[in-house]
């Protein structure tokens, strides 16, 4: 006999309350009541304010801001729901924690992404929903199911509707590094546009040296596509290289806009016309410092994924379409 139907409960930590509210509104629900605070000695305190017994719980907490505090909040909320007999707990992590520490690239380097996967499982998560993982192989770090959603349909929609010169076909999709080539070619193919690649020599983390353009951008609008923009050193130098090679305008569309450190200054001083980021990470304060930043709202995609997961429907629709 099938289990009786239960309802969706959406909890939000302190990392990105606005996104959680957008998702809840889209699902026609209120955010579930929880108090996530800190004691005076900096330990996190989580109090769940309503019954979650046998319910389908979704906890929305991207990896941004005070990352370690937000990670502990997420883990303690998952654990609290587990001990409260929730039927299923899904961690919705639009921007995954420590996603860039995913391999042992030098001696004695920790694989922190694997540790985070273990922590989430040990805390009691049954399912993880994330978006544009830095390396999709991170799904293999988990023994529980992981849904890696794509921001690509939203990106395509933005290019079609908001990038000038798109209709004349005078747009080139450019990948700012060799690692993102697959992502950029996928977008270029779907839009039937040309593609170019920038190859960079990197000596230290977060510090870029020389950049070489492979492909032709003369007289065209270049659209740089990447999964994350952190200090924006890459994007700034890439824009410079493109303009030096004849591009008329340079846009950047990035899924996760971390924009830490001097990123806003770099963008303001660069040759970029506009930097478009999704709202997986809150950035309203950055927009005040840098008017070149625009937002793509991905809450419909995440809300739809939650709805389909709850109802047991296929999520594949979201890999190629933006929900209306």
């Amino acid at each position: 006999m099938d289990a009786p139907s239960n309802s969706i409960k959406i909890f939000a930590g302190n990392a990105h309350m606005e996104l959680a509210k957008l998702i809840a509104r889209r699902l026609n629900l209120d955010l579930a009541k929880a108090a996530v605070l800190k004691y005076t000695n900096n330990e996190t305190s989580v109090t769940i304010g309503e019954s979650v017994r046998d319910e389908d719980v979704y906890i929305i907490q991207p990896g941004c801001g005070d990352i370690n505090d937000n990670l502990m909040e997420l883990l303690i909320m998952i654990h609290a729901c587990k001990t409260a007999s929730a039927r299923r707990i899904t961690a919705v992590i639009p921007c995954f924690f420590y996603a860039r520490q995913d391999k042992k690239d030098k001696s004695r380097a920790p694989i922190s992404a694997k540790l985070i996967a273990n922590m989430l499982t040990v805390a009691g998560a049954n399912h993880v929903i994330t978006m544009d993982l830095h390396a999709s192989q991170i799904q293999g770090f988990f023994d529980i199911p992981v849904d890696n959603l794509y921001a690509e349909p939203s990106t395509l929609k933005y290019i079609r509707e908001c990038i000038p010169d798109y209709k004349e076909g005078k747009v080139v999709i450019v990948s700012p590094d060799a690692g993102g080539a697959k992502r950029a070619t996928s977008i270029a193919d779907r839009l039937d546009l040309e593609f170019a690649l920038i190859h960079k020599e990197r000596k230290k983390a977060n510090f870029v040296s020389r950049m070489v353009l492979v492909g032709d951008v003369t007289g065209k609008t270049a659209v740089l596509v990447d999964d994350m923009a952190d200090t924006c050193g890459t994007l700034g130098k890439a824009a410079q290289t493109l303009v030096e090679n004849g591009a008329t305008k340079v846009y950047a569309i990035v899924t996760h806009g971390i924009l830490s450190g001097k990123a806003c200054e770099v963008i303001n001083n660069s040759a970029l016309t506009q930097v478009v980021v999704t709202n997986t990470i809150p950035h309203e304060d950055k927009k005040k410092l840098c008017p070149k930043i625009a937002t793509i709202d991905v809450s419909p995609t995440i809300a739809e994924a939650i709805r389909r997961t709850h109802n047991g429907e296929s999520v594949s629709y979201l890999f190629h379409n933006v929900p209306a």
Partner: protein
């Protein structure tokens, strides 16, 4: 000593340096930093292949940052083929089960909203939020099992800690836990430094610590007393035991906001205590604790150095610090060499503080 590396987290590097000085080895070379987006970065600069690694990290300061740092260091040691990874946590985080009283989940009116710190996080101050109204009884998550599971999942092989708030916490782990006790060291300090200790009375500031206080009073052969807070009628506080004209030694395991001990000191003063000492191995002293202690009837506050105390000593002249580095160094030496640790608690051991 061969094949041993002691690494320090960012919580209490001074204690690690003292421990390594006593062991006669250098502190392991590690660089701890944060990336631009606040993620923790751990770089170990020496080979630890087939070594026993001891990571010293206390649960104080920015607790969540230090806990994640500890977990990443354990992970780094594991992937670097360390033979054994032992966590030395002088003060274990999230070991207390605390209830924030009187929480409500109705939309707070603007003037009733809790205080926000400058990082836009709310700091929980007990008693600031109004009484609950609904029939659902909310409860605060107890994170002990989660922390234990996280540290085990990261790959630790053993835990060494001191005076766990809740001794049953050892059972949350599947790996061995050495829960050291500060009692012999505290007893020695009292014998050496409190002149009329034989006539003193050891008092526990709450009923939960009664066992701890009686154990110390038996070791010192002194009298014992207890302060009992009535949970239902909050104004009713009772003292069990006679303190008139006596030296009183209040014993607790953790001093956080210091409200418990300062209220206890006031009560003892009202009952005629001559001099009031407070002893605790773990002194967090968060929030307004130092001011409360300076203004209270506490004459001397004797604390362990499981949590860094330099700043506290500057602001509060009543504080004396007991050094636990020798104890930890000796335990690490014995664990590494496979010798008995219980031998330390026999009568013949000569403690240093």
């Amino acid at each position: 000593m061969n094949n041993i590396v002691v690494l320090s987290g960012s919580a209490h590097p001074k204690l690690t340096q003292q421990i390594c000085d006593k062991l006669g080895i250098p502190v392991g070379k590690v660089t701890l930093s944060k990336f631009s987006n606040q993620e923790t970065n751990v770089e170990i600069h020496q080979s630890i292949r087939e070594n026993d690694v001891y990571i010293v990290q206390s649960g104080c300061g920015q607790v969540n940052d230090n806990l994640i740092e500890l977990i990443i260091m354990i992970g780094a040691c594991r992937t670097s083929s360390a033979r054994r990874v032992v966590c030395v946590c002088p003060f274990f985080p999230y070991s207390r089960n605390r209830e924030p009283e009187d929480l409500t989940f109705d939309e707070p009116k603007k003037e009733e909203a809790p205080k926000k710190t400058k990082k836009n996080k709310t700091v929980l101050d007990l008693g600031q939020l109004p009484l609950q109204q609904s029939t659902y009884k909310h409860w605060t998550a107890k994170s002990g099992t989660l922390i234990a599971n996280m540290i085990t999942a990261a790959g630790a092989d053993q835990i060494i800690t001191l005076d766990l708030h809740d001794p049953q916490f050892q059972g949350f782990f599947d790996i061995p836990v050495d829960n050291l006790t500060s009692q012999p060291l505290i007893a020695k300090y009292i014998r050496d430094n409190i002149p009329d200790y034989k006539d003193a009375i050891i008092v526990s500031p709450d009923a939960g610590g009664a066992k701890r206080a009686t154990a110390l009073s038996e070791a010192l052969n002194t009298n014992f007393g207890l302060i009992h807070k009535d949970r239902i009628n909050k104004n009713n506080i009772q003292l069990v035991g006679d303190v008139k004209d006596k030296t009183v030694i209040l014993l607790d395991d953790i001093i956080d906001t210091a409200t418990t001990i300062t209220k206890a000191a006031k009560l003892l003063h009202e009952h005629g205590a001559k001099k009031i000492y407070v002893v605790a191995p773990h002194a967090i002293l968060s929030g307004n604790a130092l001011n409360l202690i300076n203004e209270s009837f506490v004459d001397e506050l004797i604390v362990g150095n499981t949590i860094p105390q330099e700043e506290h000593v500057e602001k509060c002249p009543k504080i004396k610090v007991l050094d636990f580095a020798s104890m930890f160094a000796e335990v690490i030496r014995r664990v590494h060499n496979g010798e008995s640790v219980s031998f330390l608690y026999g009568d013949s051991h000569n403690w240093e503080y």
